[in-house]
């Protein structure tokens, strides 16, 4: 058994909207070991993205503990968290979050710039990542010149380009046809086989079932863990 990479203990995230309390996460517990492929399912608004943001060090819980690589998240400095987001984690956002001013190529290059890699190294990695999602010939296009599925694939390429050990994907196949979607999922399995840890949010039960483990979220609570 590999050691635990991600541990959530009674993590809650509460939003106050118009005097009303929204418990986006309600004492959620989760443990993910290194090298695991976990799929997360649950109805819309159940708190999947909220949990993913906390795991991805983008957001902090209101209560509870998040332990990453054996160290509580509030022990990391701002600088270290930026470094973790940059080097360790690859994040595919639900809303893509591409920079509209930049071409596909430049978007994919961005994380490498913050890694301070040299120009030739960056070129090589960017080309590799774009080939992987089959978008190399669209590299000079800006996001608004690409279809939804193509934008999604740019977002995936950007998450993969740094060869992260932890891949967090929030509905990465939501805008893709079943064939392309299957190809992307196959890519994830390939990464998984080479040792990466993967968390995948999906609404597609068939895709969810291909993971090692399936986690269900309902009303902010992590309900069951089904081992496949």
């Amino acid at each position: 058994m590999n050691k635990a990479m991600i541990e959530l203990h009674d993590v809650s995230k509460i939003y106050q909207v118009g005097g009303q309390e929204v418990r986006a996460l309600d004492r959620a517990c989760l443990s993910v070991r290194e090298g695991e492929f976990v799929s997360i399912v649950g109805p819309s608004g159940s708190g999947k993205t909220t949990m993913m943001n906390i795991i991805g060090c983008l957001d902090v819980a209101d209560s509870g503990d998040y332990i990453l690589d054996g160290l509580s998240i509030d022990r990391y400095s701002d600088r270290e968290l930026a470094r973790i987001r940059n080097h360790k984690i690859g994040f595919v956002f639900q809303g893509f979050n591409l920079l509209s001013r930049l071409t596909a190529e430049a978007n994919v290059e961005l994380p490498l710039i913050y890694q301070r890699l040299g120009m030739s190294e960056r070129r090589k990695l960017v080309a590799e990542a774009l080939h992987r999602v089959d978008l190399y010939d669209r590299r000079k296009h800006k996001p608004q010149e690409l279809s939804g599925g193509q934008q999604q694939r740019v977002a995936i390429a950007r998450a993969l380009v740094t060869k992260p050990s932890l891949l967090l994907a929030d509905e990465p196949t939501g805008n893709l046809d079943s064939k392309t979607g299957a190809e992307i999922i196959e890519l994830f399995h390939e990464l998984h086989r080479s040792g990466n840890t993967i968390l995948l949010i999906t609404h597609n039960p068939d895709i969810a079932k291909t993971a090692n483990r399936m986690v269900q979220i309902f009303d902010g609570k992590v309900y069951e863990e089904v081992v496949s």
Binding site: N53, G56, L58, D59, D78, R79, A82, R83, R85, N86, H87, F91, F93, N97, L98, L99, R101, L110, P111, I113, Y114, Q115, R116, R158, T162
Partner: protein
């Protein structure tokens, strides 16, 4: 990282050209105000200084106001000249005469002086020679003409060795001076004739020297020379300090210097304020831009940009805007000064003061940093998820 930040800065500046230009405009105008105003003052001051220095800067002018019944004589000046701190002494006594040559008859100013006078002012001869010591000793009836006087009475022909009649008495012309371009020539008539002091005294019946100039033995001993001259005059005029007046020309220079320095500081200060206003414009636009680009900042942070790199990106952007504005401002200032030189018609040549260019660049950097740091800090401090959620 710096190179990347520079690239990003240029990208975002060119992405919004009109806004960037309007932001720069404040800096451009501020820099133009600073550079042009200060350069105008310093060019004008240089030209005034140059003009004033043609009056001779390292010399003392003495005027006798009340001779107490004992006119000052040439021999007394000779004695003054033996003082070790004093270089040369030359009287300048003047009278108006009627000068005549051929059919030309005209009023002219006749000066009686010594050869030292020409030496003190470094006068150049156009032809012939200036007065000589023997002319003084022998009271020779010789005359040196200003160029204008020569042209007036002799036209194109060579006046040397010709005779000019002054109040009916014949004088032999021995030389013609080069054109006088000094400030003095503006203040006095240009038809001037110089003759030995001794001759002037004899022909005009004028008694005593009321005006003379003194140079120090060396330029550094100006103060000692002034002291010696004052002591001499006090002794000579019965300790009455109101009987004479000594003017130190180098004081004039320092007065000119003080006035123009003050002008520079004053105008430079006003211009610096307009630069400051330009800086506030940068801050204003940067704050708007930080808000507009909230989502971009969120994305950058989400994929691993540290606070430091976001801070650097926006700081460099502010710096680039302000330095580009500064460069354009300096280029336009150069053009404006060239145009001003053309308009001035060669009277004054206006040049870009190198010192003020450096000051302007320094100012632009300071303003970029000063007014860029707060918006940059605001950008860097954004919470990644809230920034990502922002819909502009």
């Amino acid at each position: 990282m710096i190179i990347q930040s520079l690239r990003m800065a240029f990208e975002s500046i060119t992405a919004n050209k009109i806004r960037s230009f309007l932001t720069m405009l404040g800096i451009i105008i501020g820099v133009i105000a600073l550079v042009v105003l200060v350069s105008l003052v310093s060019s004008a001051s240089d030209s005034v200084t140059a003009q004033v220095s043609t009056l001779g800067t390292d010399l003392l002018t003495a005027m006798v106001l009340d001779d107490k019944g004992y006119p000052l004589r040439l021999s007394e000046l000779d004695q003054l000249a033996t003082n070790p701190t004093i270089g040369q002494v030359a009287p300048l006594t003047q009278t108006v005469v009627t000068a005549k040559h051929g059919y030309t008859e005209e009023a002219a100013t006749l000066y009686g002086t010594l050869p030292a006078y020409g030496e003190i002012y470094h006068w150049q001869m156009q032809r012939g020679r200036f007065l000589k010591t023997t002319d003084i000793d022998n009271s020779s009836y010789v005359a040196v003409l200003s160029l204008e006087a020569a042209e007036k009475f002799f036209g194109q022909s060579d006046p040397v060795n010709e005779t000019i009649f002054l109040n009916g008495r014949g004088f032999k012309v021995v030389g013609v001076l080069e054109e006088d371009t000094s400030l003095m020539s503006v203040m006095t008539t240009s038809v001037k004739i110089y003759t030995p002091y001794t001759v002037l005294v004899r022909t005009s019946g004028m008694r005593g020297i009321s005006n003379f100039i003194v140079t120090p033995a060396n330029p550094k001993s100006m103060d000692e020379a002034e002291e010696a001259l004052n002591a001499f005059l006090m002794r000579r005029f019965k300790e009455d300090e109101n009987a004479f007046f000594v003017f130190n020309q180098s004081n004039l220079m320092s007065v000119v210097g003080t006035v123009t320095d003050m002008m520079s500081y004053l105008l430079g200060g006003i211009a610096a304020i307009s630069l400051l206003v330009g800086g506030i414009g940068i801050m204003n636009i940067m704050l708007v831009s930080v808000t507009e680009r909230t989502k971009e900042i969120g994305i950058r942070k989400a994929i691993g940009a540290s606070k430091g790199s976001i801070l650097l990106q926006f700081l460099i952007e502010a710096l680039v805007v302000s330095l580009m504005g500064c460069t354009i401002g300096i280029a336009l200032s150069f053009g404006l000064l060239q145009a001003a030189t053309l308009v001035a018609g060669g009277l004054i040549s206006f040049y870009l003061s190198f010192r003020i260019v450096l000051i302007a660049i320094g100012f632009a950097v300071a303003i970029g940093v000063l007014f860029g740091i707060y918006p940059a800090y605001k950008a860097a401090d954004k919470h990644p998820i809230e920034a990502l959620r922002y819909e502009g």
